[in-house]
Amino acid sequence: MPNKNNLFTDAISDAFVQSMQKNKNVIIMGEGVTDPKGIFNTTCEALKRFGPQRVIETPVSENAMTGIQIGMSLLGKKSIFIHARVDFSLLAFDQLINNASKWHFMYGGTMNIPIVIRLIIGRGWGQGPQHSQSLESVFSHFPGLKVVVPSTAHDCKGLMISSIFDKNPVVFIEHRWLHNYSSNYSKKFYKISLNDSIGLKKKGKDLTILSSSIMLIESLKVEKILKKFGISLEILDLRVLRPLNLKKLFTSIKKTKNFLFVDNGWKSFGVGSEIFANILEKKLILKNTPVRLACKNFPTPSSHYLNKDYYVTVKDICLEVCKILSVKKSTQKKIIIQCDKILSKVPHDLPDLNFKGPF
């Protein structure tokens, strides 16, 4: 059961409030930031404390609002613009990619754009093709952007504070299903460096799993299951995609010599593709062929009948690990029973049994 004050969303709210206290130029903007739900209860506290002058409701004009953010940042305002879904931010690609990402470079280093674009990946309850895209690999393609994909409340808060005070445009992508997870985090003001791409979440020796966001949470569940069967997984959290620093991954693979990547999005030209290319270039020797798991290579269908097998599940991950490590068939059967038990507890299109929205 989630602990009431340690939710992922509380961590974001904390990061906002503390950053706004530290620096009066920090402001929040977006569609719905002042509404009763306050972007999944992440902007309510900031609104209460700092008012609508600093938590600013905007028209539904994504591209212009991003340009406005850039213009404001030229005069010292540090704004966080929130899109309740990643998908909406595609309307702001001109301003984000043509302007924000290359501003510092293009103007010869005379200016910089310290803004945050906070995006939420949707999933479940029929979100469908245009409300559930995991586009972090797309954003990570562009020089000049920083791309952050947190998975735990602790990381989320520290990374958000770093993002707000970074001198560059930061795309901060969180998964809707992380919101109700709780984990301990400090109530103090703290930062986690954006130069440190990877967090070590579990030490292990047989195989390295690298993943981000909600898939990191799934990978941690897998670690727990397989530990009971004597399989020791090392779980790494890829929390900053750009700038990408894979040192910890290389060290881990040198030790385990087995590798599995679990993607939140599609496989082709995805985050995993970049990771695999880096491993190749590093000439790392693996015992077994590394594997990428990802969503099916088509848009998300809305119907719960049709999206049941769309996402990677703990069972998929367990089976893949078994395959890579040639785990005995009899053990595999027991693992499958465990997985099925876990999966049957919650319908596949909900993050938890009590989930009733908002979406």
Binding site: I68, G76, T110
Partner: protein, 314 residues
């Protein structure tokens, strides 16, 4: 003769750039402002030095009229380190922070929301300054144009939108692109004050911008609409009238209403035109720009190996 000098300064610089460009040493596109000088000269003259401007691909005149460094402009065209963007941005990204010309963006419409953002920051900071946004007639066809006007009006921002209608987007006439819609109605429907100006008349544009400026600071956005005409091709140093995309009658009409001719006629009428002074002034600008060419050719390009360090601000 101050306004005439303002116009002539841009004209001479642009003409010298066009001449020197033929040597193919400035290896980047240029969108010259010859024929369109009245708008930036009139606008800049009524601005406070602390007011902001943002511009487009056709940014030379805006930059010069606001007081941007000529050396930085020329060195940028030559791709040198002492250029406005160290040679990285090129001719379409002129800016000079010291005069509050913060950016030029060659994505049509791209700088409009940036200027609105500057206006919003000015308002939030209680500054009594305006943000001036220059754009061409084609930018009014972009979605971001609507979004930006919409927001500026909603928040009553101290923004002056300056639409320079030279009737063309590259080779395509405004009639083919806009039919007979009314820009004025579009703007006014958003509760933005619309001001028309006398074509290429620097004094009129100055007076109207002065009004616009105080209105914008106390009431919210103003839209200044000004017809004008470019003498040369869309991009490059030459005349392209041989392509015949613009009717001869139209060209002749506008050449007779060149902003410099209009200004000289007016000065002559009131017996204030001193030809010698005018020619001396043009010569002094010519000298200045030729020195800039010499300096730019001598200066160094930015170091390639340092480029990757510019990806992020530290």
């Amino acid at each position: 003769m101050l306004n005439l000098f303002g116009l002539a300064r841009i004209r001479v610089i642009e003409k010298e750039i066009a001449r020197e460009y033929q040597k193919r040493e400035m290896r980047c596109p240029i969108h010259l402002s010859i024929g369109q000088e009245a708008i930036p000269v009139g606008v800049s003259k009524s601005l406070n030095t602390k007011d902001y401007i943002v511009s487009t691909h056709r940014c030379h005149a805006h930059y010069i009229a606001k007081g941007g460094s000529i050396q930085k402009l020329i060195s940028e065209l030559y791709g040198k380190e002492d250029g406005a963007c160290k040679g990285i941005g090129g001719s379409m990204h002129l800016h000079d922070k010291s005069i509050n010309h913060l950016c030029s963006i060659p994505i049509v419409g791209g700088s409009i929301p940036i200027g609105v953002g500057i206006g919003y920051a000015l308002k939030l900071k209680n500054k009594k300054n305006v943000s001036v946004i220059y754009f061409g007639d084609a930018a009014t066809e972009e979605g971001v144009f609507f979004e930006s006007l919409h927001f500026a009006a909603l928040k009553k921002l101290p923004v002056i939108f300056v639409c320079e209608d030279n009737k063309y987007s590259v080779y395509t006439s405004i009639n083919a692109r806009q039919g007979n819609r009314s820009l004025k109605k579009i703007v006014e429907s958003l509760n933005i004050k619309f001001i028309n100006t006398l074509n290429n008349n620097v004094n009129d544009i100055e007076q109207k911008t002065l009004q616009a400026r105080s209105y914008a600071i106390s009431n919210g956005p103003v839209f200044i609409y000004s017809k004008t005409y470019r003498h040369l091709e869309h991009c490059g140093p030459n005349n392209d009238d041989d392509l015949k995309y613009r009717p001869k009658k139209e060209i002749d009409y506008w050449l007779k209403r060149d902003p410099i001719i209009i200004e000289i006629q007016k000065l002559k009428k009131i017996k204030r035109f001193n030809e010698n002074k005018y020619l001396d002034f043009c010569n002094s600008v010519r000298k200045e720009i030729i020195t800039s060419f010499v300096n730019a050719k001598k200066s160094k390009p930015f170091t390639f190996s340092k480029l990757s360090k510019l990806e992020y601000a530290k």
